[in-house]
């Protein structure tokens, strides 16, 4: 790749292995991608594909077992102790379950102020002003709700509070792990719009991890599709959805249900279930369910190849891309 702009986050051959020896599960098996400043990279895949583990490994909530993670040129895996804590302020994570990710017995304004209190970079008064400002930005009136407890809020409101908390340290990168999947559609739309507004206002870069293809497309500039611990396709959101190059992406999109009674019933449904990551297939990991698989797919692991500018696919037989 000949990108002139320096990526904000550079991930190379990231590996996460749980357990040892015979019981070792390689949840993330060599994932590489870049996230550029100001963009949203969507990471989609089915459960067990390693998308959440990837997100957590970037934060070093789970320890990567190999690879490189570089945030603004600093190697995160080599950092430890105070230096690691320092760098972590530049990246924040928002979790799936909004209610359990907040302490139910703490007041909302204290939850949002916690990162500020840890670092004590600003005075108490400045802190209060900033907390009120953050709460109003996410649509929660600080004067009315600031002193309430987290348990008094609905899921959507809790997710707003989580967003306010994650913005307190002015991070560069926000990792959103299934942040809207527990919400009703009407609330989900509110949160997604809020996220887009805040991204613009705070100049955020997002890694948006989710299983819902429609949601991911809505927020992302580029999308990466994961299957069994590896990225099988990555490319610009609109192009990837319009003309998927990897057979798995095509099946995934075919299975997505469109809220339209006239949408065609899926001609092909992907049969079977993903194989166990304890014992992944040789070669291409998708070959056991792929209708186009040949002997070559079993012998040789496909390497990422460019099918269009910025659109890479790991498949020996990529589907033809219709160029416009």
């Amino acid at each position: 790749m000949t990108d002139t702009t320096q990526p904000l986050l550079r991930v190379r051959d990231l590996q996460v292995t749980f357990g040892r020896g015979r019981h070792a599960v390689s949840a993330v098996a060599g994932v590489s991608f870049d996230v550029f400043e100001g963009e949203t990279l969507g990471l989609v895949g089915e459960s067990g594909c390693g998308k959440s583990t990837t997100g957590k490994a970037l934060m070093r909530i789970v320890e990567p077992s190999g690879g490189l993670i570089e945030l603004q040129g600093i190697d995160l895996i080599k950092q430890k102790g105070r230096a690691l804590r320092n760098i972590r302020t530049r990246m924040q994570m928002i979790f799936q379950d909004p209610i359990s990710s907040l302490n139910p017995r703490r007041r909302v304004k204290d939850i949002v102020a916690e990162p500020l209190d840890c670092w004590k970079t600003i005075s108490g008064h400045e802190r209060d002003v900033l907390v009120s400002d953050l709460l109003s930005k996410v649509g929660i009136d600080p004067a009315v709700y600031g002193n309430r407890y987290a348990r008094q809020f609905s899921g959507g409101q809790c997710q707003r509070i989580s967003i306010a908390r994650s913005l307190a340290m002015r991070p560069k990168l926000l990792i959103c792990d299934e942040m809207v999947s527990a919400l009703d559609v009407s609330v989900q739309a509110q949160i997604l719009n809020l996220l887009e507004d805040l991204k613009r206002e705070y100049g955020l870069t997002l890694l948006f991890i989710a299983h819902d293809l429609a949601v991911v497309k809505n927020v992302s500039d580029r999308v990466a599709v994961m299957y069994l611990g590896k990225i099988c396709e990555i490319g610009p959101a609109d192009a990837l959805y319009e003309a998927p190059a990897h057979p798995y992406t095509k099946f995934l999109l075919g299975a997505a249900l469109e809220a339209d009674p006239d949408s065609p019933m899926h001609a092909q449904v992907l049969e079977g279930e993903p194989p166990s990551p304890l014992n992944p297939p040789s070669g291409c990991r998708f070959r056991t369910r792929c209708p186009n698989a040949t002997q070559r797919c079993a012998n040789e692991e496909p390497l990422p190849q460019e099918v269009a500018p910025g659109h890479q696919v790991s498949c020996h037989y990529p589907l033809s891309i219709t160029r416009k």
Partner: protein
């Protein structure tokens, strides 16, 4: 056959009210609809709209205490409201069966799946041990479980989520029910597995001549799989009609808001979503007017004070509850 016997389910003015510390909570009120044999109907709504309580009330599965059910549920000629536990038990399995949402918790984790299917066959149909086992294996095959004879003695923990949901469906089908209630049958499953399960339900419905009620929050699930849709809000039906009419010619502003607020795969990325301001109402503090009025941009004084009843739309069998309905789009749309 007379017209009446074509109707499998007749729900009339059904209301389910829970007594809570905060006062009576009307989870379902004034619900009336009918269902034909061999029909699939979708019930959609957000959490708290009463769709799950409605489906459980139809089955007669409400708790024994602290609940008042009024109205009538006529299931294949049998009145479910006020019926004794024994009477209802006689209908469960053979007349109506349910597929619950969470396949992880609706199976007994320490009982082999074969036994869990056998149970209803032996108790309800009085089959012998050998016959029941043969039938259970047949059912496992029917729902698409590979090597069913081998899986018969597996424990739920040895199966994936999609496989467990297939087992739950097999249990529901054991006594050939006429009506299958599926409450969020695919929520929590991956998209590719969701497509498999929905296709399976479709196929089984045709093969076994069942009627299916598909309860879901996901409009994508009901769009291509149902002939009619019921949209619920705050415990009431706000719009009901043929699936195409509800999607393309909806008159109730809530239906439109629900449709427009879900992101679509066919939209370009960064498409701004239409949102519904506010949140669903507190069922303990419902106003006399339309429950959606506080969030509705078309609301007038009348909406806040007087509750709209269901009224017929232009299309047959399509009705909506709204004082200021959206203009009819019939003829205007492509």
């Amino acid at each position: 056959m007379s017209n009446e016997s074509e109707k499998l389910l007749i729900v009339n003015n059904l209301a389910t009210t829970f007594s809570t510390a905060g006062g009576p909570l009307p989870a379902v009120s004034g619900v009336s609809f009918e269902m034909l044999r061999n029909e699939t109907i979708g019930i959609v709504g957000e959490s708290g709209s009463g769709k799950t309580v409605l489906s459980r009330t139809i089955m007669g599965l409400q708790p024994r205490t602290n609940v008042v059910v009024t109205g009538s549920v006529l299931l294949n000629g049998n009145e479910m409201v006020g019926a004794s536990e024994d009477f209802k038990r006689g209908l469960w399995g053979t007349e109506v069966a349910m597929v619950f949402q969470d396949p992880m918790t609706s199976l007994n984790p320490v009982m082999r799946i074969g036994k869990q299917i056998d149970e209803s066959l032996r108790v309800r149909l009085g089959m012998s041990k050998v016959d029941a086992k043969a039938r259970a294996i047949e059912l496992l095959e029917l729902v698409g479980i590979p090597s069913p004879a081998h899986r018969y003695s597996a424990y739920p923990g040895q199966l994936s989520g999609g496989m467990r949901q297939r087992v739950v469906i097999a249990i529901a089908l054991a006594c050939s029910p006429k009506l299958l209630m599926a409450d969020e049958p695919t929520t929590g499953l991956d998209v590719t597995i969701q497509a498999q399960i929905l296709n399976l339900l479709d196929e089984l419905k045709e093969r076994l001549h069942m009627s299916v009620v598909l309860v879901t929050h996901d409009l994508g699930v009901v769009a291509t799989r149902t002939s009619r849709i019921i949209v619920m809000y705050a415990g009431r039906i706000v719009e009901i009609g043929d699936t195409r009419d509800v999607f393309h010619h909806h008159r109730m502003p809530y239906t439109r808001a629900l449709l427009e607020s879900s992101p679509k795969v066919s939209n370009a990325s960064h498409t701004r979503l239409t949102t519904i301001p506010g949140r669903p109402p507190n069922l303990l503090k419902l106003s006399d007017g339309c429950s959606f009025a506080p969030r509705c941009s078309y609301a007038t004084d009348r909406c806040h004070n007087e509750r709209p009843e269901l009224q017929p739309a232009d299309e047959p069998a399509h009705s909506f509850a709204c004082w200021n309905p959206l203009p009819t789009t019939r003829g205007a749309s492509a």
